[in-house]
């Protein structure tokens, strides 16, 4: 995937490039928008409108940095515009209560869905089946630790131990791919 080729393709209204870029980044951009604004329904409109504008105004498109950065920053700006209009307060997730402007809204440590999935899956594949299963139920099916324990007939402590094992493995494997870790190391 050549960035220059993609950027040029967007400027020249190349539909194949446009579709590819859209499908590659759409879900990540939506998740990113969702982390900034509370309104889940508005998220898809914001991202879709961005792409409509990119297509309609392709000749005026000026992407100086990376394409990924351009897309995420554009979504961020559109989200902030939306918030201005809606006067909705920034989303405060469970444990990011006092830091809505920091890591959550900088696009640097966001990956496209396929990239992120690949990194995570590559690591999970290496774990024992039971550990994988429990971690997937927790992280991707959104079950509570107690619910997993009940469903599998295990103790809550066993469930949490397995999740810890998976987290430890991921921490080790993901490190080279997540820019935030680089930043953390520099600090």
């Amino acid at each position: 995937m050549n960035e220059t080729f993609l950027k040029q393709g967007l400027q020249e209204k190349n539909k194949v490039v446009f579709d590819f870029v859209f499908q590659y980044y759409y879900s990540a951009l939506c998740a990113y928008a969702e982390s900034i604004i509370q309104d889940e329904n508005a998220v898809e409109d914001i991202v879709q409108e961005l792409f409509v504008t990119i297509w309609m105004k392709s000749e005026k498109l000026a992407i100086t940095g990376s394409l990924k950065n351009y897309l995420f920053i554009s979504v961020k700006n559109r989200c902030f515009d939306f918030l201005k209009h809606q006067k909705v307060r920034l989303k405060s997730s469970r444990y990011f209560k006092d830091a809505p402007n920091s890591t959550q809204t900088t696009p640097e440590n966001w990956l496209a869905e396929t990239e992120l999935r690949e990194q995570i899956e590559n690591c999970l594949q290496k774990l024992p089946p039971r550990c994988q299963e429990i971690f997937r139920l927790s992280r991707f099916d959104g079950l509570k630790n107690q619910e997993i324990a009940d469903q599998l007939g295990l103790s809550k402590r066993t469930v949490e131990l397995q999740i810890t094992n998976a987290l430890k493995a991921l921490r080790k494997d993901l490190q080279p791919y997540l820019p935030l870790f680089m930043l953390a190391l520099l600090q």
């Binding site: 859209f22 879709q48 444990y95 509570k144 490190q175």
Partner: protein
Amino acid sequence: MGKEQLIEELLPGWFEGTLGKDDRQKVERWKKASVGNKKYFEEFEEVWMQTERLRVMQKYNAQKALDKVNQKIEKSGKLQFIELFKRVAAILVLPIMFASIYLYIQNPKEENVGTHRYTLTTGAGMRSEYVLPDGTKVFLNSNTTLSYPIAFSATTREVVLQGEAYFDVAQNKEKPFVVNTGKIQIEVTGTEFKASNYASEKLTEIVLVEGSVNLCQCNNLGQRNVIQSMIPGDKAVLEDSNNRLYLEKIEVAKYIAWKDGVLMFRDDSMEEVVRRLNRWYNVDIMLSGKSLDDYVYTATFKDESLIQVLDLLKISAPIDYRIVQRERKTDNSFSKMKIEIIQR
């Protein structure tokens, strides 16, 4: 190490928010104990957050959303087109030039999935001028349909022609402009030419004004093969009956004069004159009497009415004409104006 082990095991509960007060304090104290601990904790937090992001991303269906985006693009594309049409219509105030446009989206069934097309149409006796999205200028002669995709593909700019059109193609070497006339494809990168393939005439005609073009035909595998290259001043004719291509040198002016609203004859036979008048004025002229093979006609008309043209022809050749009473059709509309030219 033993202590860290313990802290790690508390993290799933911490992230989930179900940790008891004692355990929560334990984690807090541990976090504050050293920079290393804090960093270690943040790395776990990052992993937790990244997996959470993946879960959120999976909610969104890019394919469905892309269909929606295509619809939105189509809609705003239509609006832009209406604006363009208004401008073009405002320029073409000449009374004989009525720009007529039918904009509709064809059923995508026959096209590649998801690619819709625009269709430009001119009615009988009308001519009009358009600019395609790539900047190519097109003049459509009477009774002509030109369709093109809302978005040109990655490799070509393909349009489909039925009738007669003059193209002033915008330069783009990477993406050739291809006019599909059914029997033959005209491939160019940037040039001026006209092409016609009226079904009634049973032939495809291409006249090159400037630049160069390749004439191509598709083989059974759908690959385009060049069968003839043209240079300016060439006219290529492909007859439906034998699928043979004839190339000749011609005076281009008379073939393209129509785009400037000029009807031009240069050493043309009466049959050719009648054929062109029929299309130009949307009338139905019949020839009777003995054929005047010896006579050729040279004339240029711009704003003359059909009657004026016929009167001039009458002076220059031994002919007469008669306007046949129009018939009222069953749906109460009138038939085309009918004229009989009698050759003496």
